[in-house]
Amino acid sequence: MRRAIVPLIALLSLEVLLLAGHPARTVRAASDSSAKVAVTIDNFNFTPGTITVSVGTTVVWTNKDDVPHNVTNPDKEFKSPTLDTGEKWEYTFKKAGTFEYYCTIHPKMTGRVVVQ
């Protein structure tokens, strides 16, 4: 089976991506602290809108829109540079907590990372 040979990390990323279109849904991912989890920025949405990861997980945001976005935590824990079309930015969550974020250019766009 194809799934059996896909590395754990890729599998988890795939699982996350399959949920595109349900930004409000909480996704549990990455029990492995070296894991990477993908969030897609598409149609002015962060997808998935909420992800739950373990401490040490790196989250990778990719902008697939034709306009720039950014990933900003209002408490200044993290802020990406402006991401133009196709650009990626990643951040490793080293402590537990719930981290809200939004795009300061289009502040209606919000997301959340729950780190356990």
């Binding site: 034709d66 502040p107 919000t110």
Partner: protein, 327 residues
């Protein structure tokens, strides 16, 4: 003035004893613009059919200016791979107006990514305008990386705070507002406390008969909050403006013309010179709209505004970039 009475909508705002000789009458025609005329104290709003050329005839104008918006220099995606070319067409349209405008308003998103070379390109191109000075307000795309420092050093000299200011010309009071800074998660455009205080103070000495033109990037009315098309604290600004008999609010940001008359306030949004965006709620997101081949210039444009001598009319007329230059 309207040739097609069936399209005329008249809003009668006579409701108090205030001297309205200085007030404006506004005539709007769906989809393409609005025509404002001072007329015996009645604010009128006309949906007009086929007579925009009446408003654009500049011979009787005592004040004429043009609004351009959302040039997005640096954007190069499918919706418009060459935004410099369409900005140049807009400049050519302005230069072809029968009377050179007293000034030009740029209502923001001058650049796409706030890059120095993008600012340079627009600045260089706009030197080709045959018009008076250019007054700017920033869009969110102009303040991406440095809280607007580069924008203000180039285009906001003499402005206050994040770039707001006012000036008077031919008896009309113009106010440039900034509603793209320090936006809060989940929110809309924002003017902020400091700017609102300044606005209240700026208006204090003015007679209620003074015509007011307010310009800002994000609409100051709630166009479509789901897409962020509105300004959270605009209600407070509009409260300060309520006593004035004629208030015209000019915005950009949504890359299409929309207008609304609310009391004595007429709201109008301009086309972009770069790319269109979908009508509110008609697409999954407000992202750039790719048009069928040959149609792009029909949805880009400039807005030309004149205060007319004969009847003190403020005429606001949109011209798409594929239309014939105004005559």
């Amino acid at each position: 003035m309207a040739d097609e009475p069936k399209d005329v909508i008249v809003h009668d705002h006579n409701r108090d004893g205030v001297d309205r000789r200085g007030f404006l009458t506004c005539m709007a025609w769906a989809g393409t613009g609005l025509l404002c005329a001072m007329k015996g104290g009645v604010l009128e709003s006309f949906a007009m059919g086929s007579a925009p050329e009446r408003a654009s005839g500049a011979k009787g104008a005592e004040l004429a200016f043009v609004q351009i918006s959302d040039s997005h220099m640096g954007f190069n995606k499918a919706a418009n791979p060459d935004v410099a070319a369409t900005l140049q067409v807009a400049i050519d349209r302005i230069n072809a107006l029968p009377v050179a405008p007293d000034f030009v308003l740029h209502t923001g998103d001058i650049t796409h990514l706030s890059k120095t070379q993008e600012f340079d390109a627009v600045e260089q191109m706009l030197k080709g305008l045959r018009a008076g000075p250019i007054h700017y307000v920033p869009g969110e795309h102009d303040v991406l990386s440095d809280s607007g420092a580069e924008y203000r050093s180039r285009f906001g000299k003499g402005s206050l705070g994040n770039g707001w200011y006012s000036f008077d010309q031919k008896g009309v009071h113009f106010i440039g507002l900034v509603n793209v800074m320090d936006l809060k998660a989940g929110g809309l455009g924002q003017l902020g406390h400091e700017q609102l205080e300044w606005l209240e103070d700026d208006l204090r000495g003015l007679k209620s008969s003074t015509p007011i033109v307010v310009f800002a990037h994000i609409p100051l009315w709630s166009v479509y909050p789901e897409w962020g098309w509105g300004t959270d604290d605009a209600v407070q600004a509009l409260a300060y403006l309520r006593r004035f008999g004629s208030v015209t609010v000019l915005n950009g940001h949504i890359h299409q013309t929309l207008q609304k008359v609310e009391g004595n306030v007429t709201f109008h949004t301009a086309m972009s010179t770069a790319f269109p965006q979908p009508a509110p709620g008609t697409a999954p997101s407000p992202g750039p709209l790719a048009m069928p081949a040959g149609k792009l210039r029909s949805v880009l444009g400039i807005t030309d505004v004149k205060l007319m001598k004969r009847n003190h009319a403020l005429a606001v007329v949109d011209h798409s970039l594929d239309s014939e230059p105004a005559s």
